[in-house]
């Protein structure tokens, strides 16, 4: 049973093709990792699945839990279980983290959620993403996901800007969030994979999946040989 199925997805942003016939399947209960060089289409895939209007779908389908969500508005996709951790969330002055958590959380208080990411109480009073460090932004994003409890996670570089002490914490929260759920996780250097259990990995090159395999093995190849290896892999598969 598939949680997410992306079929032959072609997407443009401002007339520039960012995904070019991408296919991907994530079975229920699995967390898949996306690797790829800068500009290869990783974040574009996540933001297209989320439904940002500037990501224009020219062809293909996005199927979530058997339902075609390709042209649904963002909040309708979220209602169906999508939850995203943004890589570069916008600063929203005057909108306080605590107020957002209060609206989102069903069975926990904002304080209880904040405590899980080691945020002191006064962080709830802070404006969304204003003046946060890289690590604080990730943890701020995680608090919102914990409150949302989405069934399908889209995690865009959750380890970016996180210091060593907090990397384990972020990893354990993602593991907790992913328990019994499905999702996609983008990472550049793979540090988070020391703490997160992922079942499969894919490499995106030029807007399509170039190769797939076990996360640790693929990461090992990338770290040793760079993405050149993936290009070769693609050639080997005869794509």
């Amino acid at each position: 049973m598939l949680a997410l199925e992306v079929r032959d997805l072609v997407v443009e942003v401002d007339g520039r093709r960012v995904l070019d016939g991408l296919n991907l399947e994530v079975p229920k209960g699995e967390l898949h990792v996306l690797f790829g060089p800068n500009g290869s289409g990783k974040t574009s895939l996540i933001l297209t699945i989320l439904g940002l209007p500037q990501y224009k779908v020219l062809r293909g389908q996005i199927i979530l839990n058997g339902e075609d969500i390709t042209f649904l508005p963002i909040n309708e996709r979220v209602k169906r279980g999508i939850g995203v951790l943004f890589q570069n969330p916008p600063q929203i002055k005057g909108v306080r983290l605590g107020d957002v958590l209060k609206k989102l959380a069903k069975d926990e208080t904002p304080m209880e959620i904040a405590r899980k990411v080691n945020f002191p109480a006064f962080y709830l009073d802070r404006e969304l993403n204003c003046g946060f460090s890289g690590g604080e932004i990730r943890r701020c994003e995680l608090t919102q996901l914990m409150a949302q409890k989405p069934s399908f996670l889209l995690l865009d570089e959750p380890d970016s800007g996180v210091d060593v002490e907090n990397l384990e914490l972020v990893g354990s929260i993602i593991n907790e969030l992913a328990k019994g759920r499905s999702g996609i996780l983008i990472t550049h250097l793979g540090y988070i994979l020391r703490y997160v259990e992922a079942q499969r990995a894919h490499v995106i090159l030029n807007g399509k999946i170039a190769c797939s395999g076990r996360p640790i093995e693929i990461l090992d190849h990338i770290l040793r040989e760079g993405y050149w290896w993936c290009d070769k892999c693609k050639e080997m598969r005869g794509d």
Binding site: L52, N75, V78, K79, K93, G94, V95
Partner: protein, 423 residues
């Protein structure tokens, strides 16, 4: 030229009264520097009503509307109350706890009671500023006199409500606040109009005197309606070490509001702050701001505004800082959010340095809501409307005011009530 009658009080210094009257008569046709011109002859006067012992027998709907501007008709957690409906004082009084240290009565009553009172009239605001000040001098409809005794700290807010109940009325109130040395107080002043009123004029003269070391937080919530024209004229004079903080909130549609209060920081190390939250909607013409004249050595001033304009509202946000003495500092900040292409926000920050020892600065930004902020909140499951509403409410965040906690709760509550019907 409109017909005017003479105010019936006689204790005022005759020569000064005559001079004020003559200056007012000469200025009756003098247009204001800013804002649409109003034909003063198109309004009516209302007969006086009787005073009431409490606010329990207010006309239907009036109590509910008073609550919307932060006024508590039950008078709980209030140090004192002044309630004026049209031209009549319905109630004025001070809680027993502050009796003796605080006086809160009609200005006409104060003029009858004290010989010295007249010297505080038309001193911080000039009577011949324009036709509205002139009109208010010649057709004086009470207003409140608040006096806080030397050293008295009033720890809970005082409240005033100026209410227009009769259609096509003009209401000319003249308020005077006298903060004696080292006294402290906070006042919530709510202005509101009955739903049956289609057209009216409110002219509010407010003269505030802060003596040495006194502190006043003055929070005004306007809740007018389309067809209502409003011309407040406010002057504040600060002595050494005095602090004045004005918080002006206007979130409902209005015909026009034009006000440009001036704080004169005459005393050394005195401080004046003008904060404003404006939500311009439905053809409202809102022309507001604050000017601070830094005359005293070491005095400081700040003008901060958050303006939203939607539908076809026209909003002018002004600010003027004048640095006249050394070691003075001032900052202007205007942020505007446009929610419609038919609306406009015109920010006009002005700085005038008259000595090399002054430091003045300003920043202004006008734009629309960033789409990415809306999408971000939609990614949390909120609808587009909910996302916009959260961003707008956040933009009008009262925490920029730095209010005391209980007062902030009150103001937030009032804003939430008003915005829930606007957004």
């Amino acid at each position: 030229m409109i017909n005017v009658r003479r105010c019936g009080v006689t204790k005022m210094n005759e020569a000064r009264e005559e001079e004020i009257r003559e200056r007012a008569l000469k200025a009756l046709d003098k247009k204001a520097d800013y804002g649409p011109d109003i034909d003063l002859s198109s309004f009516v006067r209302s007969p006086e009503r009787l005073e009431v012992k409490g606010l329990d027998d207010l006309p239907s709907g009036v109590r509910e509307q008073a609550v919307m501007v932060g006024v508590r008709p039950d008078m709980k957690e209030r140090a004192g109350t002044y309630f004026q409906l049209d031209h009549s004082v319905l109630f004025s009084g001070v809680s027993k706890y502050f009796d003796g240290g605080v006086e809160f009565i009609s200005t006409i009553e104060a003029k009858k009671r004290y010989d010295w009172f007249s010297k505080y009239l038309w001193r911080a605001v000039q009577v011949d500023t324009d036709k509205y000040t002139a009109f208010a001098a010649l057709e004086w409809d009470h207003g409140y006199f608040l006096r806080v005794a030397a050293g008295k700290k009033v720890t809970v807010p005082l409240q005033s409500c100026l209410y227009i109940y009769r259609d096509k009325l003009d209401q000319n109130v003249h308020n005077v606040i006298l903060m004696e040395p080292s006294s402290e107080a906070q006042i919530i002043s709510g202005c509101v109009v009955h739903p049956n009123v289609s057209r009216a004029l409110h002219v509010g003269i407010t003269e505030i005197y802060l003596m040495k070391g006194a502190k006043l937080t003055f929070t005004m919530i306007h809740n007018w309606a389309e067809g209502i024209d409003v011309r407040p004229r406010t002057g504040i004079i600060l002595e050494d070490g005095a602090t004045f903080i004005s918080n002006y909130i206007n979130l409902k549609p209005v015909g026009s509001v034009q006000t440009y209060p001036a704080a004169y920081c005459n005393g050394e190390n005195s401080t004046a702050v003008f904060n404003s939250l404006i939500y311009g909607d439905k053809g409202s013409v809102i022309d507001v701001g604050g000017k601070i004249i830094l005359e005293g050595k070491g005095s400081k001033g700040e003008v901060k505004s958050r303006v939203i304009a939607t539908t076809n509202a026209k909003v002018y946000s002004r600010g003027l800082l004048v640095g006249k003495r050394e070691k003075t500092r001032g900052h202007l900040e205007c942020r505007g959010l446009l929610l419609s292409d038919q609306a406009f926000i015109h920010a006009i920050p002005e700085l005038r340095g008259e000595t090399s020892g002054t430091e003045l600065s300003h920043e202004a930004a006008v734009g629309k809501i960033a789409e990415e902020a809306i999408y971000y909140l939609m990614a949390r499951g909120f609808s587009e409307e909910e996302a916009v509403s959260m961003i707008v409410r956040g933009f009008l965040d009262t925490r920029i005011f730095g209010l005391p906690e209980p007062l902030q709760r009150e103001v937030d509550h009032a804003i939430d009530i008003v915005l829930s019907s606007s957004l």
